[in-house]
Amino acid sequence: MVEFAIGAGVLVSAFTGTFQFGYTFYQYNAMSNATNEAARYAAMRAYDSSTSTPSAAFQTAVQNMVVYGDPAGGTTPIVPGLTTSNVVLTVTFTNGVPAKMTVAITGYSLNTAVAFMNFNNKPRATYPYQGFYSPA
């Protein structure tokens, strides 16, 4: 019984740790794919602001793309607890026009059952802007 208790303690710890890392990596990968897709989407969509601050419609569409995989929005986030407020879109202007779109996850805590893993400014993806600049 004592031996089993010692062995079980080791195994449970190993399983728990592995689950925590595995689950975190799995969700990180999901968010990495989502930010990649959203940055690509932002890089293709017509940019309807004359400054590096995007319009509300543009920003919301990109945030929805990350959280729901659909610019129109949805009900089930790609990872538990992720909201649009966790998605930061950074538009880089060069010589007065959009040049890059960067999408990042920030302020998100992933509950792995035994601990919380915090994500700040990662995952993150940047794409060169190749859409139509539409400032009017």
């Binding site: 031996e3 089993f4 010692i6 062995g7 079980a8 080791v10 195994l11 190993a14 399983f15 592995t18 890392f21 595995g22 990596f25 799995y26 990180y28 990968n29 990495s32 794919n33 990649n36 940055a39 690509r40 890089a43 017509a46 309807d48 060069t94 010589n95 007065g96 026009v97 890059k100 960067t102 400014n121 990662k122 995952p123 993150r124 993806a125 940047t126 794409y127 060169p128 802007y129 190749q130 859409g131 139509f132 600049y133 539409s134 400032p135 009017a136």
Partner: protein, 386 residues
């Protein structure tokens, strides 16, 4: 009773013999389990690294291919653009070590890092290799790292129709068999013609420039364009001046500044021309020009190497063949360089109301790019092809 007497001593002996077995078995199983679970952790990190480097390559290939313009400067700009994308790996903490950047004229290669001539190179391949440090794999292998390789290929893919991206003007082709359709890079052409006057003295096939109240642009004054000019005068006449957009200010603004088209413009189809509103158009054309950082370059060659340019003075329009009063067939698309006359340009607005609008032919149009593409004419979208 016999059984009990017999069984008791055997049980004791067995217990004594099996003492510590649980610990041994647990230890052996633990090694296997920890190894297997550790491999899962290592593999998770490898998959993340693969995702991150793939994003780096995809983004880099797209950034690079947008810079290709058939010149050696374009190749150099492509290399710079790949390196400048800013994507990192190792959970977003580490810069991707020197990627391999190669170019090709076809998506299947052959791939060349430094082409002797940039002509025809419309594909970029970016390859990134990173070594992911593994923590558990060394239990089973001698290696402490796992190499992760990602590749992306992007190219300038020709388009056969555009429903957004074209300005509401046209340029007229003069030689349907030449690679540039008779247009000469660097020459000024009418993207909107001066007021037609068929009764003006001397207006005939030999002197078609006399059929307009104002001078046509310099590129349209050459002998090579004489028959083209006559076609514009005799086929279009007063029915159109080459404009095909809306006449409301709000429409013109959307068309010129945002490149919103009121009608699609597929190749080899008829485009319905309209009258427009020249006063509004002139002001909005200048507004577009004034959104550029470079208002002083007078030639496209000077403009494309200027560190201030941002592409707003570049304007893509259909290249057409006049087919009847108020109609034209779209032959191709071309990128034109809008003129400027100063630090705050009013080049188009300062002309007379019925002047033609001139612009310099620059080459092919790549959507989203701040320069021309590799092709002589046409519209292209940059796209990942692998």
């Amino acid at each position: 009773m016999r059984v009990e007497r017999f069984a008791h001593p055997v049980s004791k002996r067995r217990l004594a013999r099996e003492k510590g077995v649980t610990m041994v078995v647990t230890s052996l199983v633990s090694i296997g389990l920890v190894g297997a679970l550790g491999m899962a952790v290592d593999m998770g990190r490898v998959f993340i690294a693969k995702n991150e480097t793939q994003t780096y390559c995809d983004s880099g290939a797209l950034a690079g291919v947008m810079k290709l313009d058939g010149t050696s400067t374009g190749l150099a700009n492509a290399r710079t653009a790949v390196a400048a994308t800013g994507n990192a790996w190792n959970l977003g903490t580490t810069t991707v070590p020197t990627p391999t950047i190669e170019f090709a004229t076809a998506s299947t290669g052959p791939w060349v890092a430094t082409p002797a001539s940039a002509s025809g190179y419309i594909y970029v391949r970016v390859t990134a290799n990173v070594d992911v440090t593994t923590f558990f794999a060394p239990i089973f292998t001698s290696s402490t790292t796992q190499r992760v390789k990602s590749i992306a290929v992007a190219g300038q893919v020709p388009l056969t129709t555009l429903s957004q991206g074209l300005g509401p003007y046209t340029a007229v082709a003069s030689d349907l068999t030449s690679p540039t359709l008779g247009l000469v890079v660097g020459e000024q052409y009418d993207i909107q013609w001066p007021q037609y006057n068929g009764t003006r003295a001397g207006c005939n096939a030999g002197n078609p420039d006399k059929c307009f109240n104002q001078n046509v642009c310099t590129g349209d004054q050459t002998n090579a364009r004489k028959s083209t000019l006559w076609k514009v005068a005799s086929v279009w006449g007063s029915a159109t001046n080459g404009y095909w957009g809306g006449s409301a200010n709000s429409d013109i603004e959307q068309e010129v500044l945002n490149l919103v088209q009121l009608q699609p413009a597929p190749l080899n189809t008829s485009l319905a021309m309209t009258n427009g509103n020249k006063n509004a158009q002139a002001g909005i054309l200048d507004e577009r020009v004034n959104q550029d950082g470079d208002l002083t370059s007078a030639t496209y060659d000077a403009y494309r190497v200027s560190s201030l340019h941002n592409g707003r003075r570049l304007f893509a329009i259909p290249i057409v063949d006049p087919t009847g009063p108020g109609t034209a067939t779209v032959i191709s698309y071309g990128l034109f360089f809008l003129n400027s006359n100063g630090s705050h340009s009013n080049y188009y607005a300062s002309g007379n109301g019925n002047d033609g609008y001139c612009a310099i032919f620059a080459g092919s149009y790549v959507l989203g790019s701040d320069g021309t593409g590799v092709g002589s004419v046409g519209a292209y979208r940059v796209k990942l092809v692998q």
